[in-house]
Structure formats: C-alpha cells, structure tokens
Assembly symmetry: C2
C-alpha cells in the first residue's frame, strides 16, 4: 500500500513534501527508487517513460498531474482495470484563458512588429484591429476550451467552438461532427486548438484544415504537438495563407535546437507554459482522490478510456 | 465662413473628403493653402506648428481631432474667446483599454523574454503571474482613464486610480490630491499614466514618484512625453527599482534615431499608437460641432481652458 511519484523532469520532492503534509502515515516513494514494486498501488505521474509502469504489478490508480492523460495512455501498456484520473483545476483553465488572451491581443496590437521596429529604430504606425471585429474559432470545448470560449465571448470577441457534442455557452456558436467542421472554420481570424489528443484528433491541424480557413488566419496550438502536421504548417505559412502561428506544444519537448520552427519568421514559440499545474491547487485533488481510493469511493475526474479524456 | 484643416503629418485629404460628404456647400481648405485667411472661422486640427493659427484673425472654434488639446494650447497664443473642443470617442477609450490590456498581459506572460529565448533557441519555462494577483495603478481617471480602470477591475485586476476629484467606479479605489499620492503609489505592479498634460502634471513621472513605487513596478506612459523626466526613468531602470517601461509617447515625436530609449533593454517603444482617432467616428462629432457652431448652439466636448482638459 504505497504511493509512487513518477515525475522525472520536474520536482518530485516538492510533490512528496506536499503530499506528506496531509498523508503523514502513507509510504510515498519517488521513481525510480522503489523498495518493493509490489506494494505500489497509487501512482501520481507526469510523462512516464515507455512502459515504465509495467514494473508495478499492483497499480490500481494512476493520477495524472495535469489536465491530460495522453502522456500515460500512449506510452504505457496498461491493464484495463486500472483507473486513470486527471487534474481539473480552475486555475489551469483560467491560466490558459489569460495566456490565450495575451497571444491574441499581442497579434491585434502588432506587438512582434513593434519589437522588430524598435530593433532598427523605426518609427512607423501600424493599423491595429479591435476585439469587437475579431473572430476566434476554438477546437475543443471541454473544461478548458469551454471556459476559454466563454471568456473570449464575454470580452466581446466573436466566438465559435467545435467539439464532440453540442455545447450551450453564452454567445458561443457551437459546431459538432465532421459535417459541421468546414462551416466552423469559415470566418476565423484565429484558430485555437484545445482538443484532447485521441486517434480522431491526431494530425487534425493539417493542410486540408488550413486550406478551409480564410486567408490570414493565425494559428495557436496549445493542445498537443501531435495535433499538428508540421510540414503542412510550414507550407501554409510560406504561401501566406496563414499569417502566423504561436506554438506552445511540440511532438518532441524540449524542441530540439535544430528544429526549423525556431528560426521561422512567422512562428512564435513558447516552451509549453500556457498553463502550468499549480502544485498547491493540484495536490489537494490528488489527496482527495487517494482518500477516496482507500475508502473504496468513486474517484474525482476519472477518465473515460474509450473517449480518451 | 470656412473650415480650415491643419493636419500636416497625417492625411488631411481624407478628412476633407469625409467632411465634404455631409457639408457639401461649405468651403473647406487644407493648411497652408488658404485663399483668404480672414474667412477661416472653424479650424479642425492636430499638432499645429508654433503659432500657425495666429495668421487667421477670425477663428471662433478650434476642434482638436483627438482627445487632448495640449498640442494646441501649448503651441498657440490664442485669443481667449476662442472655443476649443476635443473628440470624445468611445472607440478611443476602448482602443486604449485594449492596448493597455495587451501590454499588461504581455508582461505577466513574459512575452518579451520568450521572444529573446526563441532568438537563441532556448527552451526555458518562466513563472507567470495571474490577473487576480496583479495590482494596477492608474494616473488619471477622466473619460479614458475611467473607462480603462473600470475594464481592468471587471476582468479581476486590483485597480487604483488617482485624479483631480474623487471618482465612483466599481471596484476601483479612488485617490485624489497630493496628500493621497503616496498611498496611491504603494502596492503597484503597474503604473499607467493617462493624465492630461497641464502645468501641474508636467514631469510628474520623476524620481520622487518612482522611489515611492514598490520595487519591480512596470511603467506604462500613454499620456504625454512631457509627463516623464527621461533621465529619472533611465536611472530607476538601471538600478532595477523599476522592472521595465513601455513608452508610447515622447517629448519629441517621432523619437529621434539616436535617442537612448531605442536600445535600452528594459524599454519597449511603440510609435504613439495606443489609441488612434478613427476618422469615421470622429468626423461625425466634428460635423455635429460645426453645425452647432453655425446655429449658435453650445458645442459638444468643449474644453475648460483653466483646467486644461
């Protein structure tokens, strides 16, 4: 009966400390230092290495430390009785909204252009665009996407969303299914990807999708690197059909030094920071779930493995 | 009886065309091509050159094409019977709000740092700050400042304002007079200047003011260049008391190529574009005022010359 933390590139000790504060009697180990692999039944993890969890035959619960679980399901060959749960954190949704608003406003107000102009002492006024005549199309209207869509609409943007099922969000036009995909893409100034990564959504940001967007659309990918067909993006930036892209997620992270994205003049790169799990707020959800697990209660934020989110 | 447009560095022909659409029978000339200076009684102007208007002995109204009038009052020696009026345009206030929001969010989300990191292919996550724990202090709560303060507060920022008289704006703490100035400056993450330029406010962004701000405050000047003591800013950036500054207005515009602001690593420069008068929306106010003038009615948005705004 022990908790295992698998969190190799981050700060597992901080997690251990926080969990210990409220679970003082529980054995909590940090991967890979595990005394007896058979005692591990509850795993708290982020991006475990390929099949790293198969060494632990008695896992009952895998608790993702973020909003997504594809970093677990795509890398581990799991017994289907294992319950997977994720963090649903209002802060995560809200941080994402603030990040996306900053990206959109930077574009509307020509932030990158003025940085370049300053570098060459150039004083030149550029036309700017306003919120009320800016259309934002959001792929994915789940917990995070739904919140983001609602907030953009509240501020006066024209907002559309596309998701697995129709959603009721004030002033957000909801589209669903393949048949409505083309209509969803029309009349966009920004396309924001917030979809979960599943077999159906992998590679969804491809040349077919791009070609249905109006000329001049700006792409923001804060979903997963695997949603994007990289060469299709380069092509549609170079032929000026897309005006630019901000990418926060990549197929390989950290993005390798020699990747062509770094130096592309129309690509802005952020190092997967749109929304970072706040340990303080996430740790309470993990503790709650651990206690529910021990008391044989239903876990919070369980993931449907068939849907993938 | 004629209108004179004084708008040398911009596009006076566009203004003439727009005014002509509704004032087809009125004589409208563009400075400096004026047949008979004595016929000019209504001037539409932006930044007239030193005493350029004294050539016209019969001016009754000077209509500024922006929200400010200091560009007229500080450069012209005017008969005190002349009525000066300005544009009060919801778009101006709203554009200013959108611009300021974009600047603040760029700072919170480390936009400039990521641009630099991308230039050196550096993948490094930076901590970000959120709206709810960010305090904004606004100098000036007039038409524009009041709107900006209200919108920042609505979005969840902690907002204070300092102005000539106490203001009632929801969730905005109002400060006034010299005695409350020091309290106003405390606990700020951002100091935004939106004051009108008067004898009392000139040079208000000086070392005394900066020293009363908390260490790490970011300055945004969208008022006038004359509000800022340039060498005091440089000093307080270089000693890291201020974390940075965005300047949209300058004592000399365009900013001269050899000005030290251009290359200062903590200064961001935009070429006076926070809020640009929209010809479409401003032209209607000018026409309305011209018709009121002809019919001896009270003008809209007359300026109190004793207050200066």
């Amino acid at each position: 009966m022990s908790i295992l933390i698998v969190y190799e590139n981050k700060n597992p000790n901080l997690w251990r400390k926080k969990l210990k504060e409220k679970l003082s009697k529980t054995k909590i180990e940090i991967y890979p230092t595990v005394k007896d692999p058979t005692t591990v039944d509850f795993v708290v993890c982020w991006k475990p290495k390929e099949n790293c969890l198969t060494q632990f035959p008695n896992i009952k619960v895998i608790q993702s430390v973020g909003a997504s679980i594809d970093h677990i399901t795509t890398t581990q060959d799991l017994n289907e009785n294992i319950v997977i749960s994720r963090i649903i954190d209002e802060n995560l949704s809200n941080d994402m909204w603030e990040f996306l608003l900053s990206v959109v406003l930077s574009q509307l107000k020509n932030k990158e252009i003025y940085v370049r102009q300053q570098n060459s002492q150039l004083w030149k006024q550029q036309d700017y665009q306003s919120i009320h005549n800016t259309a934002i199309s959001i792929l994915g209207l789940g917990k995070i996407g739904g919140h983001v869509a609602e907030q953009f609409a509240k501020l006066g943007f024209k907002v559309k969303g596309w998701s697995n099922s129709k959603k009721q969000i004030q002033n957000v036009k909801s589209f669903t299914a393949k048949e409505e995909f083309d209509d969803f893409l029309k009349e966009s100034n920004f396309l924001i990807n917030l979809l979960p990564l599943t077999d159906d959504t992998e590679d969804i940001l491809n040349k077919d999708t791009f070609s249905k967007l109006p000329k001049g659309t700006f792409l923001i990918n804060v979903g997963r690197g695997e949603h994007l067909v990289e060469q299709d993006l380069i092509k549609f930036l170079d032929n000026s059909h897309l005006s630019g892209a901000l990418l926060d997620v990549f197929r390989e992270e950290p993005l390798s030094k020699d990747h062509q994205f770094w130096e592309h003049p129309k690509i802005q790169i952020t190092p997967h920071i749109a929304s970072l799990t706040n340990v303080e707020s996430a740790v309470n959800q993990v503790i709650e779930n651990y206690q529910r697990f021990r008391n044989s209660k239903e876990l919070l934020n369980k993931v449907s493995l068939s849907k993938g989110y």
